[in-house]
């Protein structure tokens, strides 16, 4: 069951097929490689003048990336609207159950976590989409190594939080 309107999640095979379909469609129609975290650079490039954000490759792709990010936002919005209506909330599943922090605590937690994501994905050169889905499907060493690194670190962190510190599982 999902946190959003307690909807029943799709079977995983359908989710995976949907991901593969969009990945291949995007490549076949536009020649673009799937990747989300590059979009963070793209957004930064509109505001920041550091040389890293003015690289040719980044500027060429930033319009595509920004539009794809906008689409992701719309996809989530559409999912909420069709699934029971758009009703902003702070619901956070087992975090509420076992950590129990209020909105201010969640904002701080999320900002810290988010900064790890932004810094880490850019250093790794990709995230779950570009390294995990696309990279591994393309048999890339960088994709495999990065995926092992973030999956391992995620397992250690979540187990530290929920099993070791909170004793929840």
């Amino acid at each position: 069951m999902l946190i959003t309107h307690h909807l029943l999640a799709w079977p995983w095979a359908l989710g995976g097929a949907g991901v593969a379909f969009v990945t291949l469609l995007l490549l076949f129609v536009s020649g673009r490689r799937l990747g989300v975290s590059g979009g963070l650079d793209a957004v930064c490039s509109y505001a920041l003048r550091a040389p890293y954000f003015q690289l040719r490759g980044l500027l060429d792709a930033r319009s595509f990336r920004a539009q794809f990010l906008l689409g992701l936002l719309l996809g989530g919005f559409l999912s909420a609207v069709l699934g029971g209506g758009f009703s902003p909330s702070w619901d956070m599943g087992i975090f509420d159950q076992f950590v129990g922090w209020g909105p201010m605590g969640k904002v701080a937690w999320m900002f810290v976590g988010g900064s790890f994501i932004g810094f880490g994905t850019r250093m790794a050169g990709g995230c779950t989409s570009g390294h995990g889905i696309f990279g591994i499907s393309h048999f890339e060493g960088a994709g495999l190594v990065s995926t092992l690194a973030y999956m391992g670190a995620g397992m250690v962190t979540t187990n530290l939080i929920y099993r070791v510190v909170l004793g929840a599982f």
Partner: protein, 141 residues
């Protein structure tokens, strides 16, 4: 192709939202090894994408006849160090970059803080690129 990119993003975001890939509990379940959902999604996606990529690369042309080539991402120490940092962030927030946007769209208010953090993190990385590139063997600017 502005309309096309937005549409692809929307479809992708909808799939992530409904399959559980953007769900805090499902992500923690993946890392706790108590829920197979995300392994199933990623596994299925790779199993279907891999032969598709092979065929498209062999075909060598896009739908509109433009040259289709896939650049391989560079291998460097940043893959590991950055991957570990990202994994910590994915665990803390229950979101990877795509799902941050999806959660914002769904109306999860805390996801706005994750988005702000992710942009600040990326900005900081960009500022520190030159010294980091030397240490980690990243591509030179």
């Amino acid at each position: 192709m502005p309309f096309f990119y937005i549409l692809c993003g929307t479809a992708f975001g909808f799939v992530l939202s409904r399959s559980g890939a953007a769900d805090y509990d499902m992500v923690q379940g993946m890392f706790l090894l108590t829920n197979v959902q995300l392994y199933g999604i990623i596994g299925t996606a790779v199993v279907l994408t891999a032969p598709g990529l092979w065929l498209l690369e062999k075909h060598g042309k896009t739908l509109f006849g433009k040259k289709l080539t896939i650049e391989t991402k560079p291998r460097h120490k940043g893959n590991i160090v950055g991957g570990v940092l990202f994994g910590i962030g994915w665990s803390l927030t229950g979101m990877c970059p795509g799902p941050i946007l999806v959660n914002v769209g769904e109306g999860k208010l805390y996801a706005l803080a994750a988005l702000a953090g992710a942009l600040v993190g990326a900005a900081l990385f960009g500022k520190l690129y030159a010294p980091l590139a030397k240490k980690l063997g990243l591509p030179p600017i």
